[in-house]
Amino acid sequence: MSGVPLNWYLILSAILFCLGIAGFLYRRNIITLFMSIELMLNAVNLTFVTFSYKFKQVDGHIFTFFVMVVAAAEAAVGLAIILTVFKNRQTLQVDDVNSMKN
């Protein structure tokens, strides 16, 4: 066993990133949309960690760490926003939130 090619990790992360995009495009629930973004961030993290391995550096880890912190902060604020939206509209359907257009 000589291990796994680095590219596999990268392609995995690309796949996850695209699945995140897909989730964002195909789901209608705002929370699911948000989760799709989290998925994308996770994919990015995988890339960072992979490259960190490649360079035998810890920098990628640090970046991943900050992404997590940011994700946490985003989650707090994002969920609060979603709460207010729900409170005002009694819906989490993203397509219902389109009073402003054109």
Binding site: F17, V44, G60, V67, I81, T84, V97, S99
Partner: protein
């Protein structure tokens, strides 16, 4: 990497504006519970003072240029300039907010604190020399912005604006991050200078195409933040939905800061691969101008119209980036400053004129304002003329400088198309003038209130800025020219 990680004293000075603003923001949150409902404006005044205090701090930092905190920050003229801009934006927006917030019964310390923190984030962006700082600064600015956009939480449009801004913003940030990850993967560095060095020396195992991909992914993130086509879609919705002073803030401060990092990353880190992105920035600039200007043509809602116009103006700055030259950077810097003044001025008029619940934000509602409130209308006229690009206003000189940069870089067609776009833009700005001066006053104008001192300050200061940049631009021009050499 520095030998000693312990920061020297001067490095704190280079970080002084952010420190002041952070402390001030925190203090506001601490003081908030102790102040009664009627006295929240005091916090705003405090925020104003702290922002004003940050200006000499910025100057101080600017006088001690150099790296700070292990090359995380680079305080140079460029950073200083954008710090000035975003702090100035903060000042103008806060002062425009008092009356608005009181009218909406939402006058509280959090607003000012968030605004201060957002400005802090933008200052960090302006000075950051490291992708990680860029990311964090961007997130500080953005998350505060998301909240501000939805600040009036009982207002449906506010919620919607916040939600759209937040979801799409995070979505785009993911792309940016992915791009950062890739450039890290290729060069092993997140420091801009190092990336540039690596790319310049072709010191990479991977092909240039990967650099291109990461540049592209980061472009998505930046273009989204600056609302450049085809990533501008969110901007009109958000600027329309957010509270007017916040729209003023969102369409200037974060945008300026985003342009700052855009410029810095593209001019330094991605400078060596400019052959890959110049053409696309050209197209994007043109598209942005077209989408913004044409979209605004028949827009009845003033805020939304300004949103579109904000997109269009981002397009002009993109022209400067497409020029990819030192003068281009200078032009972009100058334009952003001028644009900040006039755009805030316009939104401040909206903030002044709108009633509770943002009634009367349609262009038609301004009918007859020119004669009922000649000063307001006169200043508004000045801002609109500046947005059109009439000489002796900052908008004109900015546009002139941008076209000059484009022409100098042989982007003559882009300059011509930009010029024609300006002519299109004149149409919808003129429409506002038509309504203000050439229609008879309606209900909206008849019931309008006298101007509050805060907004008055914003308007006059913006007008002063617009005129100064238009008539005596030399000082600012010299500054931007001297601080526009990013690629070292």
């Amino acid at each position: 990497m520095p030998d000693s990680f312990f920061p020297a004293g001067v490095e704190y000075i280079r970080f002084l504006p952010e420190i002041i603003l952070t402390i001030a923001g925190t203090l506001i949150m601490l003081l908030e519970p102790f102040l009664g409902d009627g006295k929240k404006s005091g916090l705003g005044v405090f925020a104003l003072i702290s922002l004003l205090a940050a200006i000499p701090a910025t100057a101080l930092a600017g006088n001690n240029p150099g790296y700070a905190f292990s090359h995380m920050l680079l305080v140079d003229g460029f950073a200083t300039f954008f710090r000035y801009v975003v702090i100035g934006v903060g000042v103008l927006c806060i002062s425009a907010s008092f009356q608005y917030l009181r009218r909406e019964n939402q006058n509280s310390g959090e607003y000012y604190a968030l605004l201060l923190f957002s400005v802090t984030g933008q200052c960090v962006m302006a000075a950051s020399n490291e992708l990680i700082m860029i990311f964090i600064g961007l997130e500080i600015s953005s998350i505060a912005s998301y909240v501000l956009a939805g600040y009036l939480r009982d207002d449906k449009r506010n919620n919607e604006a916040a939600l759209k801004y937040f979801l799409l913003g995070s979505f785009a940030t993911a792309f940016l991050l992915y791009g950062i990850a890739w450039i890290y993967g290729i060069t092993g560095a997140t420091n801009l200078d190092q990336i540039r060095y690596t790319l310049l020396n072709h010191d990479i195992e991977a092909g240039g195409v990967l650099v291109g991909v990461s540049a592209a992914l980061m472009f998505v993130g930046f273009a989204f933040k600056v609302s450049a086509a085809p990533f501008q879609v969110w901007a009109p919705d958000v600027y329309q939905g957010a509270p007017a002073p916040v729209s003023a803030f969102l369409s200037t401060g974060p945008k300026a800061a985003a342009f700052a990092i855009f410029l810095r990353v593209y001019m330094t880190a991605f400078g060596p691969i400019s052959n890959r992105w110049e053409a696309f920035v050209w197209i994007s600039a043109l598209l942005t101008m077209i989408v913004g200007n044409f979209g605004a043509l028949r827009q009845p809602n003033l805020k939304r119209m300004l949103g579109y116009s904000s997109v269009a103006h981002a397009g002009y700055v993109m022209v400067a980036i497409a020029a990819h030259s030192q003068i281009g950077v200078a032009a972009a810097m100058f334009y952003l400053a001028a644009y900040a003044f006039m755009q805030i001025g316009c939104f401040a008029v909206v903030a002044h004129f709108a009633r509770q619940g943002e009634k009367y934000v349609n262009i038609e509602d301004l009918a007859g304002l020119g004669w009922k409130q000649p000063v307001t209308a006169g200043l508004f006229t000045l801002f609109l003329l500046s947005l059109i690009g009439i000489p002796l206003t900052g908008g004109f000189f900015g546009k002139f400088y941008i076209f000059k940069a484009a022409v100098d870089s042989n982007l003559i067609w882009l300059a011509i198309l930009g010029a024609l776009n300006s002519a299109v833009a004149a149409y919808y700005y003129l429409r506002v003038l038509v309504v203000m001066y050439m229609k008879e006053p309606g209900d909206a104008v008849e019931t309008s209130q006298p101007m509050a001192p805060g907004i008055s300050f914003t308007l006059w200061a913006s007008a002063l800025g617009t005129l100064l940049l238009g008539i005596f631009p030399s000082a600012v021009l010299d500054f931007v020219r001297n601080s526009s050499s990013l690629a070292k």
